[in-house]
């Protein structure tokens, strides 16, 4: 990594500085502060002024020019069915009712999750129409998103490692089908730092309708073996979204300010005796930052500040999609203010609580599509109108796809399919309207230009200006990467 050469001012190794110093530390701001307090000689102040901003979340240079600055990842949790959404398969109707093993003899009853409910090939209960300049076939599930297909680049040939939620989720988040590895948002904030000191750099929003967290809970936004500051900040769906952001009830702002002033005075006095300890100064600066966050974070999360036509655009107030509308709006407000990565989970845990349509695929997908279609379409439109889409990468996708056969149930569902999934990317650096890769005629397996999860990750990092082979972290005796020892950037979907 080129950053390794960056040597900070006050005699710490890069690693130590990295581990110790603070959010937006501000050797710059700090130098200013200490200079005002007369703590630094002119020479050292000048040195500090010239030095790069330190700290684990300081903005860091990219490996090559970035196409996008932020990511909004709409995680279609539970595994959306490719053949009912974006991967149109007219052949399905012809095969309807036949055995999948006739089509592909490698199919076994253990391909999905439930070996005892394997049904026959089932055509999609939804209709498809051509949309946009690119003429993309789109399912009737997405009347709003259908208008934006020229912004999206589709990957139809994804495949993953497991037919089980949790390993597949971990694979999609972290590139390993096991817990304990840093996820994409953590790698991004580790690699790029934060753009703002006033907001968390990596934010996660989960289902607010009481349907639970994705399988694996907070491990889905874990920093793994990276320092824990790189883990995602989960906005609690109920109560105060961020811990400790509200000052004690008895205290007014001016009373808190007075307390802060005393604290800062005492700490600066103390720091005079330890002027060479950057951590002490960093902590002084952080109290000021924290004080400001009390205002900036609630402001960023305040959807009420948006005008009525924006509420209308997203569908705020509509019973079916109000919750996702608010989350998408928050996502826009956050990236607007410099948050690096936002992840929104559509759906909660499993089965009917998420897109995991084992039963009644039609009702399941129709319900979750209705929750997300308008808000996500609005997000794309809103970002585009503001000129933010060019620097924001929007991702839509789940942990795996679903089988083209029915899963036997009162109303037929579809079971997990690790062999094929579709996802799309839109925004910064993405060639809108492109479609990459193909599944077989029934959408069962990816067959043309297959895309591994590592390839997808490599592409996301690439769009953010990072060479996935050069973003490494030394842990347990070796250098780890998000993409392990694999990953190819999918050039064909780049603008």
């Amino acid at each position: 990594m080129p950053r390794q050469q960056a040597v900070p001012a006050v005699g710490w190794t890069r690693r130590e500085l990295f581990e110790r110093a603070g959010m937006g530390l501000g050797l710059v701001g700090l130098a200013g502060l200490l200079h005002r307090q007369g703590l630094l000689g002119a020479a050292r102040a000048a040195n500090a002024d010239a030095s790069p901003r330190g700290g684990p979340l300081a903005t860091r240079p990219t490996h090559f020019p970035a196409r996008a600055r932020s990511v909004i990842w709409l995680f279609i949790n539970g595994g959306p069915s490719q053949v009912d959404t974006w991967d149109y398969k007219p052949e399905l109707a012809k095969w309807d009712g036949r055995e999948l093993s006739e089509f592909d003899e490698s199919f076994s009853k253990f391909t999905g999750f439930f070996a005892d409910a394997v049904g026959q090939v089932m055509k999609s209960p939804f209709t498809f129409q051509r949309q946009g300049q690119c003429g993309k076939w789109v399912s009737s599930l997405f009347p709003h998103l259908a208008r934006h297909v020229d912004k999206m680049a589709f990957i139809h040939s994804g495949y993953t490692a497991s037919n089980n939620h949790s390993p597949a989720l971990f694979m999609m988040q972290s590139g390993a089908p096991r817990m304990g590895f840093p996820c994409v948002g953590s790698w991004l904030t580790y690699g790029l730092g934060a753009e703002t000191e006033n907001l968390p750099a990596f934010v996660v929003m989960s289902d607010p309708r009481g349907r639970g967290l994705p399988k694996g809970n907070s491990l889905n936004w874990s920093a793994g073996f990276l320092p824990s500051i790189y883990q995602g900040t989960w906005l609690k769906p109920k109560g105060n979204p961020i811990d400790n952001l509200q000052r004690p009830a008895h205290m007014s702002d001016s009373q808190q300010r007075r307390l802060m002033d005393l604290l800062q005075d005492l700490n600066v006095d103390h720091a005079r005796h330890y002027e060479f300890e950057p951590e002490l100064a960093a902590r002084i600066e952080n109290f000021e930052l924290a004080y400001r966050m009390q205002f900036s974070a609630p402001e960023a999360l305040d959807v009420g500040a948006e005008p009525a036509h924006i509420h209308q655009l997203y569908g705020v107030g509509k019973p079916e999609c109000d919750h996702v509308a608010r989350q998408c709006l928050i996502a826009r407000r956050l990236v607007e203010r410099g948050t690096r990565c936002v992840q929104i989970y559509s759906g909660g845990m499993e089965n009917q609580l998420s897109w995991d349509g084992h039963n009644d695929i039609q009702g399941n997908h129709a319900g979750f599509a209705a929750e997300t279609d308008q808000p996500i379409a609005a997000l794309l439109e809103d970002l585009a109108q503001r000129g933010l889409l060019d620097e924001t990468l929007v991702i839509w996708g789940g942990e795996f796809g679903r089988l083209p056969i029915a899963q036997k149930a009162q109303k037929p569902g579809r079971d997990h399919n690790p062999h094929a999934f579709t996802c799309w990317l839109a925004g910064g650096g993405v060639n809108g309207g492109a479609s990459y890769g193909q599944t077989d005629e029934l959408g069962y397996k990816s067959v043309v230009d297959r895309v591994s999860v590592h390839d997808l990750h490599a592409t996301v990092l690439h769009l953010m200006g990072i060479d996935h082979q050069r973003l490494t972290y030394r842990y347990s005796g070796r250098d780890f990467r998000l993409t392990d020892v694999a990953g190819n950037v999918i050039d064909q979907i780049l603008a």
Partner: protein, 1049 residues
């Protein structure tokens, strides 16, 4: 898969059992002819079929299920299930044939269409002809494990960390007035080489705070600071260290450090992150181990194999919590079973290697280690020590940490009352009832004679307590597996059948009759021997036949007949589906009538070894009859007296006299048949059991061990086996690419015993539950002369040094391999490690070694010139200022606010408002308490050797706004008010003294009193009656937020 496979195994076992000797004795005369015909068929047809459909996965690119059919030898050997691939000459009984004809699962070829009928016919004919080969199906590489043949060379052994411990001599230095201990001479010598001079000692006020926070993680009380400052004793500091090392809080502090290394947490992680309710015992083990100064080699041994070194010592059992503290998925599909188990083995073995040896052996899982001399071969052999180790929960005599005082007394009262009631019944009603009963006896009682087993005749893993009705009741912890051997004498002759009753009892789960959680049991095998009492001939086996039961769970694997079949373990008589909560009985006819002149000793062996563990009978009774086994009723409608009682009853009925003892025995038996008496007795027994629990408490403890009940898993219903009997070499770490069985072995690079592996390997003693593999590993791990001991000592010495000095002599505490930066003070590391081992691996002595050195005592004063030479202070020319860890920050706040609950041990809680030390937070992986998470507690997923120290704004928000911080501030404010009264000056002075152990400077006093006045005024203006209290609490909150409070110079 389990039951299908076991039935199949059974069939094979029976088949080979009867057929094999005959086949060996007389070879088929047409053998040669058949083999020749078979070879031709093989050449013409079968080879093509196998190559096209089977070999890719079974011996070609992969060897799935370890079933390699590229050679006849491999075919006959079969795969991991140890079922021969074919039975030569018998296609129908051949596994291969059953799989390809889809008689058995998994249907083969997998994920492809069934073989054509003519192909099946060829295979059939070929097997019938003896299944000969004309040569291997594919040419193989010379060695199956060629991919892992990295040689460990003499040069590899030259690396410093793999060397024996050297006898390093502390350097002699001229003009050395600074050094206090040998440690210092190493450090000073190194400094001088770079032209550096160390700092002098810090002042006493600072030293006492440093020692307290370092050793016990709590601040000294102001009085303790003052006493130490004024102590004229030249040994004052040493005495201070001794006091702190003797404090029970010392263990709490240092256990927490080790918990990072042990990736300890109390939930599964993964999908559901279920709680592990009994995992906390491992944490309690750590606290006790540090407090007792358990020698470090023993500390290592117990964590690896406490169940093999000292199974009777609960502490040793608690230590094994280390093994399975790692994460594990809670949802698995069949395809993931094996991978998940190999991941778990990797977690166990990899964590052990990192924690004890600072070696990243996990890197060698997929290929030979890139940097260190660890071939993948060594990895799998290392892992194989853990092959059969699983997580379990056992009842152990450990105080749970939550007894209610007074409970014992209450029980005693109730118990006395019920006993009195029973005595009254026995005195006032029983004699008359008995008389009526005897009078009503019309004929000789019963066809069955109960066999009363004398206590000396009982042998079982569990306690079998004789009951008044002649039955035996199992009591105490339920072992996973059990075998009852019951020896009894009888004068009876012509015995024709044995009856075993499995009886209900209120103490049993769901009333029994079994001990399994659902009340079931599974009698896997029953054996009977008979011997003459006069010893005139040795015991003879009595064959049992024609079983008949009141109820049986099914007609095959769980029937009465299954207790006589060839599988003594996993098939047997069980009674679920209609038989739970009811008395059951089974009769076995004796092959020939039994009964010696002069009496007979009968020995009945009942075996409960089902894979569903804890399936023993809870209450049982044996009887014998001489009646016709085919007609004798299984259960008679009247209570049946045991033999001695029957004799008494016959005498009484005939009007004869019996002595008091005999009468008493008969009455006691009779009482047990009466519902009223039974109810009273059941109540008494229940109270007695509770009493026993109060007197000698047992608690459920999570352990890692073998041959013990497994903890329930979501995928049990899918047949998840929890472990596989063998560990295989896996090419690229992939369970579908097995390359032969890995036998347990040690890392070559750390092994120099002349007799190599055999040096530590142990055969388990007869009857051992465990494999003794981990015990051998632990012996090797701590063997200073021939094993890994030198490295283990270096690694631990370095960990302790790191905690005291802020960075290790080797900076990467978890990696001593080639990727580690070289030690800053190699000679010192050698000296400390050798000293540690010489002194008996005592950690407390090591603390004193380090903490009495001048390098530890020095001040943190900074100096520009010296900083220019060594900016990172690698050479320790000053003491580096350090921020306290999350736990110490929180515990310190609680301590100075006077709110700390100092209770030791026991279950933790997730309540962030709890007031015990932070080590007692229940560590749920997905919900780590906020304060710990904010202040860099590593996610407890993998071993962590070093915590980073970040400074981020959310930490500041915690000090500003967190309700628990505010509660502590209010607590400190109350203490301040109590000490200082209404004076602002006195209040500020008290706050400084209590929070920081010192007096405020004039400037500080001025700033704080001004704040206090202004803030109180402001609250007063807002109409608050408690204005000053609020202002004072605000000031105390500032105390907590001070850099001085959280940084230790």
């Amino acid at each position: 898969m389990g039951s299908r496979l076991s039935t199949f195994l059974l069939a094979v076992a029976l088949g080979t059992g009867s057929a094999a000797p005959a086949a060996a004795a007389d070879l088929d005369p047409a053998h040669a002819e058949k083999m020749a015909a078979g070879r031709k068929l093989f050449r013409d047809q079968v080879r093509g079929i196998l190559v096209k459909n089977c070999v890719r996965c079974h011996g070609g690119e992969e060897t799935q299920s370890a079933f390699d059919l590229t050679t006849r030898e491999g075919l006959l050997k079969g795969g991991e299930y140890e079922v021969p691939g074919v039975e030569p000459g018998n296609a129908d009984d051949s596994w291969l044939y059953q799989l390809v004809t889809h008689v058995e699962e998994p249907k083969m070829p997998e994920e492809a269409s069934k073989l054509r009928p003519e192909q099946l016919a060829h295979l059939r004919a070929w097997i019938e002809l003896g299944a000969p080969y004309d040569g291997p199906l594919v040419e193989k590489a010379a060695s199956a494990v060629a991919w892992t043949e990295r040689e460990v060379t003499a040069e590899d052994r030259q690396y410093w960390a793999f060397q024996p411990l050297r006898d390093a001599k502390p350097p002699d230095l001229a003009d050395d007035t600074w050094s206090r201990t040998p440690v210092d001479r190493f450090v000073l010598e190194r400094m001088r080489r770079d032209g550096l001079q160390p700092n002098p000692s810090a002042d006493r006020r600072l030293l006492v705070r440093r020692a307290y926070l370092d050793l016990i993680g709590l601040p000294p009380a102001p009085e303790e600071v003052e006493a130490f400052e004024q102590d004229p004793d030249p040994q004052a500091y040493e005495k201070l260290l001794d006091r702190l090392l003797a404090s029970p809080h010392y263990g709490e502090r240092w256990a927490r450090h080790w918990m990072d290394v042990a990736r300890f947490a109390e939930s599964e992680g993964g999908e559901h992150d279920y709680d592990r309710k009994y995992a906390y015992h491992y944490r309690d083990f750590l606290i006790q181990a540090f407090n007792r100064d358990l020698p470090y080699d023993q500390f290592v041994k117990w964590q690896l194999a406490g169940d093999e070194f000292a199974p009777q010592d609960p502490l040793a059992m608690m230590a094994t919590g280390f093994l399975t503290a790692g994460t594990f998925p809670t949802q698995l599909t069949e395809r993931e079973f094996e991978q998940a188990r190999y991941d778990q083995l990797d977690d166990m073995a990899g964590t052990a290697a990192v924690a004890f040896l600072g070696l990243t052996v996990g890197c060698a899982r997929c290929h030979d280690h890139k940097f260190d001399p660890i071939p993948a071969r060594d990895y799998y052999r290392f892992v194989a020590h853990f092959t059969t180790t699983i997580r379990s929960e056992l009842q152990l005599p450990v105080a749970p940490g939550g007894e209610r005082p007074g409970a014992a007394e209450q029980h005693r009262g109730l118990l006395a009352q019920r006993r009195a009631e029973r005595e009254r019944f026995e005195r006032e009603q029983l004699p008359a009832l008995f008389q009526t009963y005897v009078a009503g006896l019309g004929r000789a009682p019963g066809d069955w004679e109960l066999l009363e087993v004398p206590p000396a005749g009982i042998q079982a893993a569990t306690r079998l307590a004789p009951q008044p009705d002649g039955s035996l009741l199992a009591e105490g912890p339920v072992p996973a597996l059990d075998e009852y051997t019951l020896t009894v004498r009888t004068p009876r002759k012509g015995m024709t059948a044995l009856r075993l009753e499995a009886l209900t009892h209120p103490s049993l789960p769901r009333g029994g009759p079994g001990r399994a959680p659902n009340g079931n049991f599974c009698l896997g095998d029953i054996g009977l021997t008979a011997a003459p009492l006069d010893g005139s001939q040795p015991p003879v086996e009595v064959a049992l036949r024609d079983p008949r039961a009141t109820h049986q769970q099914n007609k095959d694997a769980l029937s009465a007949a299954a207790s006589l079949d060839a599988d003594p373990n996993n098939t047997g008589w069980a009674v679920d589906f209609g038989g739970i909560g009811r008395d059951q009985a089974v009769l076995f006819a004796l092959d020939t009538p039994v009964g010696f002149a002069g009496g007979t000793e009968l020995k009945v062996t009942l075996r409960f070894h089902h894979f569903n563990s804890r399936h023993a009978i809870g209450r049982l009774r044996l009887s014998i009859t001489s009646a016709d086994p085919s007609t004798v009723p299984l259960v008679s409608d009247r209570p049946e007296p045991p033999g001695n009682v029957a004799a008494v009853l016959r005498t009484l009925r005939a009007g004869g006299q019996v002595d008091g003892a005999a009468l008493g025995a008969a009455q006691r038996w009779f009482a047990a048949t009466l519902p009223e008496w039974r109810e009273l007795t059941a109540a008494i027994e229940k109270l007695e059991r509770k009493q026993a629990a109060v007197d000698v408490p047992t608690t459920t403890v999570q352990v890692g061990s073998e041959g013990v009940p497994k903890v329930k898993h979501h995928a049990d219903g899918r047949g998840y086996p929890h472990f596989y009997p063998e560990t295989y070499y896996l090419k690229r770490g992939d369970p579908s690419q097995k390359e032969g069985v890995a036998q347990p072995g040690f890392l070559q690079i750390l092994t120099s015993a002349p007799d190599a592996e055999r040096h530590w390997s142990l055969d388990p003693p007869p009857g051992a539950r465990t494999s003794y593999r981990r015990r051998a590993l632990a012996e090797w791990m701590t063997d200073i002369d021939y094993g890994a001991g030198p490295l283990a000592a270096r690694v631990m010495v370095n960990r302790i040094w790191q905690q005291h000095l802020g960075r290790g002599i080797v900076a990467t505490a978890n990696d001593f391999g080639h990727q580690a930066p070289p030690p800053t003070h190699p000679e010192l590391l050698e000296w400390l490690a050798a000293d540690f081992v010489r002194g008996g691996w005592r950690i407390k002595a090591l603390h004193k070694r380090i903490m009495t050195s001048a390098v530890y005592l020095q001040s943190s004063d900074w100096d520009a010139e010296r900083a220019a030479i060594d900016p990172e202070n690698l050479l320790h020319w000053r003491r580096s200022v350090r921020r306290l860890e999350a736990e110490a920050i929180r515990d310190q706040m609680l301590a100075v606010s006077g709110q700390l609950d100092a209770k030791l041990y026991g279950p933790g809680t997730r309540d962030e408002a709890m007031r015990r030390r932070s080590i007692y937070f229940f560590l749920k992986r997905s919900q780590v308490p906020t304060i710990l998470q904010l202040f860099d507690l590593p996610e407890p997923l993998v071993s962590q050797g070093h915590r980073p120290t970040t400074t981020i704004a959310p930490q500041a928000l915690l000090f500003m706004n967190n309700p628990q911080v505010r509660t502590c501030a209010s607590g400190l404010a109350s203490r301040v008010t109590a000490a200082a009264g209404p004076s602002d000056d006195a209040a500020v002075a008290a706050a400084y003294r209590l929070a920081l152990g010192r007096a405020p400077t004039g400037e500080e006093l001025r700033r704080n009193t001004a704040f206090l006045t202004g803030q109180a005024e402001s609250y007063r203006a807002g109409g608050r009656a408690d204005a000053r209290e609020l202002a004072l609490a605000d000031l105390c909150q500032v105390m907590f937020s001070l850099n001085e409070f959280v940084f230790l110079p």
